[in-house]
Subunit: 184 residues, 6 copies
């Protein structure tokens, strides 16, 4: 499994087709939890719905437009972290993530995002990483705040969530800020 080791417990790995069952289970067992802030949960009705999706994620990776990765905690599939395409001309990207209900509260995602920032700023030499969170999704907001992201503004009606639009906070972190923080 091609992966990034975060610490002794946490591993981030590229999603391949053979992870389909573990991924589906993680989603299926947290439907109510995930549905609060993620618009795609109801579309994943069975394992077969994930086949074309994983295919498109691998295609995204093959074309250098970013990765979609699984997060493992002690080997168990507990969430995902991924990029909404990379803009190489302006060297920027937007990151998204989710965690299954039982994995919340252990600091897993903050550490996973932090590890991905190393890949994005050091390896890919990006200049800017953006994270959008629902304005009332307090758990999700904690992650960019803890990692030194700056709140840039509010994206009005930024996302459709089953039966309503909701606003998103737009956070960003620049390479220069991140480098300072690394040295500080």
């Amino acid at each position: 499994m091609f992966s990034i080791k975060v610490n002794e417990h946490i591993q981030i790995h590229l999603i391949e087709m053979n992870h389909i069952e573990a991924m589906y289970e993680a989603v299926h067992n947290s439907r109510a939890h995930l549905r609060r802030w993620l618009p795609w949960v109801d579309q994943v009705k069975s394992i077969y719905d994930y086949q074309p999706i994983i295919g498109s994620w691998l295609q995204q990776f093959a074309e250098g437009r970013g990765f979609q990765a699984g997060i493992r905690y002690d080997g168990e599939f507990v969430g995902m972290i991924g990029l909404h395409d990379i803009d190489w001309a302006s060297r920027k990207t937007t990151m998204g993530y989710w965690l299954s209900q039982q994995a919340v509260g252990k600091g897993i995602m903050t550490k996973a995002v932090d590890a991905c920032l190393h890949v994005l700023f050091e390896e890919y030499q990006l200049n800017r990483v953006q994270i959008n969170c629902g304005v009332e999704n307090f758990e999700s907001q904690g992650i960019p705040k803890r990692l030194g992201f700056e709140l840039e503004g509010v994206v009005k009606d930024g996302e459709w969530l089953y039966d309503h639009y909701h606003d998103l906070y737009q956070f960003s972190l620049l390479r220069s800020t991140w480098l300072e923080r690394q040295q500080g």
Copy 2:
């Protein structure tokens, strides 16, 4: 020419391959002017550089991800207006535009953007349209301001411009606001 009539002088039309010369001329004759805020000007060295670009624009249109349109003033190609892909799940898009130097100052772009808003909100039934402008690009900012867009925030280092990143103002207009304005 499949077009949207803005008024007696202004016409917005889908760009097809046979417009390549008129479009190149418009860019070539305004290089210094356009280069101030557009990152792609130096890449367009000859008419041939536009062939794959127009091909990808037509492909974008064919896949329902938005249009790239030319703006004509009394028949002359004076600029462009286009969409950075449509997010149908959240029914939102981001709009961009440019005008050749000699066409500036006639209110052409405000009227063109306004006409496009009708297409986006009425025909495509989108919910949100975003426009990003350089924080020091005062001419460009005037357009969303005049059309009722709201300033949402500042996108730090939002775009690479030849030798530096610059910040962008992020404006948005919601369908509900636009409808009120139409009736007001």
Copy 3:
């Protein structure tokens, strides 16, 4: 809607995916009428049958092989006009069209074809436009006749129509003839 304005009532516009319902309704409400001369009517059983077809039409447009356009009369979808690919080497194409039952008899199609001839001869600089009509489809034949097309011959068994082949009249109009008529 990117369109060609024919007159105060008639508009010809590129077909995009959001026109699928209006187009299906126009066909569905004229099935018996259209079935007499069009071989594809029975294949369009629901709105979903049109999704891949519209996709292929937009792809045809994106590749510069011609357009498929809707005809609106006072805003209502009443028919279509389109090209069977463009032969750029010999600068020629073949045009087809249909009109819903209730729109027949108002001269709509003659005016729509005439407007398209301007696009084909002036904008695309084609040299030859062909129209094929069933030898007993008298309404359809009237259009090329009124617009100065010349009868070139009979295409024996030119088209399969559900349970039999039927012959087609082959009409053509050259750019030179069309230019003379414009000036006459």
Copy 4:
């Protein structure tokens, strides 16, 4: 070599990439002869120009849209015979062919076209085969005439030939006529 045996001397075979040299030689040694009626001769400047063309021919065959075949006389590549796509809905196609200068006058092409008609009418179960010839290309016209094709009309300006358009005779043969002739 997958081929159709016409008689002891003549063989028609699908063109594969390894025939590129023999095919180029046949064209190159008859340039002046072929140029009189074929529009593409000047575009074939070297063997490399044929690589993408053969690729597209094989793709046409793979998609069931017809074949492009070489004609061998005592093993030597002397010409080609091929289809301009098959219209399966109306079970019809148009056939084209050319012969190198030194192979003319031996009745090769009439026999080759006749052999192909067996494939088209019997194996593919087509209903109609069309052949177009320049109105002054008397040699070419002799072939459909000898094989029972009927003249349907004149395609005005049917083809661009380097510096002018020329008219084409349109011939056709229906399956019913062909079957009668076979039994007669």
Copy 5:
């Protein structure tokens, strides 16, 4: 039908979509016989299962990666012979084949493989042809043995056969050996 004539009775032809029924019948009528050594028999449940397969075979041929051919005995479809891609860098390929139950025992396949060797060594100028057979498939082994192939080794668990892996004999024939045999 583009074919290679083996003798008065046997013909090898490229498989096109219109052969789908004859091919399916040949497989369907020999299921028990073919199932013993071929892993794909149970996947072919109806004629429709062959549509994408034939499409991929034609695509293989179009890309110059080898052919999949039907074998006819007195016109009847009795089996297949094909290549598992051609390695043009090392000019080698692997050949496979099957014969319906009622056609076994007439020496058909030995003659068909021999005819294909002429195509591969003379026309395609390959240097090496490989054939793999189940170590207990004595009928199949007879063919490479009779044609001068050399046994190179045993491929352990070389193929999955419904519920178990089985070992394969790996035979090869080099062009130099084949040329000697031709002259001998």
Copy 6:
């Protein structure tokens, strides 16, 4: 960098486009060394030759047909290990590898192949892994021998090497043998 950690010094990672320079350097600095047994060295004349190759490797990965990975020793790019497509029906693959001159002799490749075997047998649940080595490439042969592979036979003229064919030893390791070795 998505990677498999072999030990404190050795890391195996999926090759992405941003590794192109490090990979080219590793090849370029070992040309004479690599040329002895690898047929592709002369084709890699500049960094640009690797762009389409890396693209096709990423595509192979995206389609689940195997990976092409870089080997790092203390962070430096010293070689590659990859799969020649995966046969999922028979759950088998063939593995290849190379090491730059200065990295030879440290046991790097044996450990890297061993680590990959864990991925192939445990994660991908393959049943058989094959390795081919030139019969006189003693260094390369040492690796499968040390890891418990069995010699199955000699592939005559198995590979073209610039100006001659050479024979290959064919080694294989079955999952059952590997599992025993793990427990032993």
